[in-house]
């Protein structure tokens, strides 16, 4: 999947992944796609919940070697 912007949030703990994701998505236009990479195990639920509540779309989540990759489309 091609993202318009990638956010590296690896190594960051709660609440930083969603704080940074929010900042990054603010810089995008509606319909654009943000890729977020994290290593915090809580971020899997956190980012999914955040996307749902803030009106964006979670297009895809991948988990590989302890890294989570999220593709979020701005609503």
């Amino acid at each position: 999947m091609k993202a318009d912007k990638t956010l590296d949030a690896k190594g960051l703990s709660c609440p930083m992944p969603i704080v940074k994701t929010k900042k990054a998505i603010n810089e995008l236009e509606s319909g654009q796609i943000l890729e977020v990479v994290t290593t915090d195990k809580g971020s899997k639920s956190d980012i999914s919940a955040w996307v749902k509540s803030t009106g964006h779309d979670l297009l895809d989540v991948k988990e590989e070697n302890g890294e989570f990759t999220f593709f979020i489309q701005k609503g």
Binding site: G11, C14, P15, I18, V19, K22, W50, G55
Partner: protein
């Protein structure tokens, strides 16, 4: 988003480092959720807003004693459990670093950056003998009515 923004309010009563950390993590999270967030600091929670340097003020004996015995700023606060006369906070700060979590002073800075409204309760400031000059910049001073005005519209209201 055209709908009305949601509101989160937190009363921070506790002056414990760990509890204040929880309060500020929730506040930062709620700000990322696009909520209008307000933290009301009262009693021991006011110490999180104290400047870490000594501010010359005119005070009576009791007020000086209070000022001396209370932690000057977020970084000097103790833990609610396992404080061990100051060893506990040192250990937890190491663990925070190890796990790349944010220490309390950074969480407070981040909250300000995200537009979280910080309010200090004027009545308890007076009770504890603090002066407004001893409180960090960017903090509002208010009372219970200001808290209730926010809380009655709050979607998330917490007392910590």
């Amino acid at each position: 988003m055209s709908e009305q923004r949601k509101k989160t309010t937190i009363v921070l009563f506790s002056g414990d480092y760990d509890k204040a950390m929880a309060a500020y993590i929730i506040a930062n999270g709620a700000a990322a959720y696009d909520h209008d967030v307000t933290i009301f600091h009262t009693f021991w929670g006011l110490n999180a807003l104290r400047k870490d340097e000594a501010v010359p003020t005119k005070k009576g004996f009791l007020e000086k004693m209070f000022a001396f015995m209370m932690p000057r700023g977020a970084d000097k606060m103790g833990l609610s459990k396992m404080n061990f006369a100051g060893m506990g906070p040192k250990m937890i700060k190491q663990v925070i670093k190890k796990h790349n979590a944010m220490p309390l002073p950074d969480l407070i800075e981040m909250a300000k950056e995200q537009g979280v409204k910080l309010v200090a309760c004027q009545m308890t400031i007076d009770l504890l003998g603090l002066k407004q000059e001893e409180i960090m910049d960017g903090v509002d001073f208010a009372g219970v009515a200001a808290y209730l005005a926010e809380a009655e519209e709050g979607n998330v209201n917490l007392f910590i």
